[in-house]
């Protein structure tokens, strides 16, 4: 919450906030846009939920007004399955253990697709007595 308030102060009334976060459902691994397996996105969703809660609290406090939402898919591309598996070794999100051998054996390019949400918010003057 402190970080958000700090940034809102840096923008000031009338300024815009564009907040980009990951969104449920879980990301998926795919080949040629065909589903291969689901990836557990919860570790990042927890962080996104906290960020969303902080923004929502400032909306309730009258400091931000939400103007628009844009949901879209984003893909990370890999040369092959081995590269994908390797990329997830140090990530918070985990590949399902049962799918790792199948993914690692993929010799063709593959991708991870995840849903994201961008919110546009406008900063308002502090409301007397709010907080």
């Amino acid at each position: 919450m402190y970080v958000l308030r700090n940034m809102v102060e840096a923008v000031g009334p009338g300024g815009l906030v564009l907040d980009l976060q990951v969104l449920r459902p879980n990301p998926t691994a795919e080949v040629d846009e065909r589903f291969v397996c689901e990836i557990d996105g919860e570790p990042l969703f927890h962080t996104a939920d906290a960020a969303t809660a902080a923004v929502d609290a400032l909306i309730r406090a009258g400091r931000l007004i939400e103007h628009a939402i844009d949901d879209h898919d984003v893909r990370t591309h890999y040369a092959d399955g081995a590269e994908l598996v390797d990329d997830f070794t140090d990530k918070k999100r985990q590949l399902p253990a049962a799918a790792v051998p199948r993914l690692a054996a993929l010799e063709q390019p593959c991708a991870v697709r995840e849903r994201c949400r961008l919110r546009r918010l406008q900063v308002r003057s502090p409301v007397a007595g709010a907080d």
Partner: protein, 98 residues
């Protein structure tokens, strides 16, 4: 080969759908290696982009084109520690970073 995040520029397209960066003083929190920063900076008046990952900031600095060098400032910092003048920006972008 290394993984390539969002070569279709879906994030940048979404940012442009919802935000008008033209002539704005932009603050970008969690800029990483500057993947979105350059697209923003092509339209903005200025961009202060920061991230606590110094290696990512180093990559961002190295890939900053000369024509944008006067408009973009990268800093190694977290949202908790960076000091900013009140009302010194028109628009702030949070990239998965709140």
């Amino acid at each position: 080969m290394t993984p390539v995040l969002d070569p279709e520029e879906a994030h940048l397209a979404a940012l442009r759908r919802l935000g008008d960066f033209r002539g704005r003083r932009v603050l970008e929190l969690g800029c990483g290696d500057g993947r979105l920063t350059l697209g923003i900076a092509r339209e903005a008046a200025s961009v202060l982009a920061f991230d606590p990952d110094w290696e990512a900031i180093e990559r961002a600095q190295q890939s900053l084109p000369g024509e944008l060098a006067e408009r973009v400032v990268y800093r190694v910092a977290s949202g908790k520690e960076i000091e900013l003048e009140p009302r010194s920006f028109d628009l702030v972008v949070f990239s998965w970073s709140l």
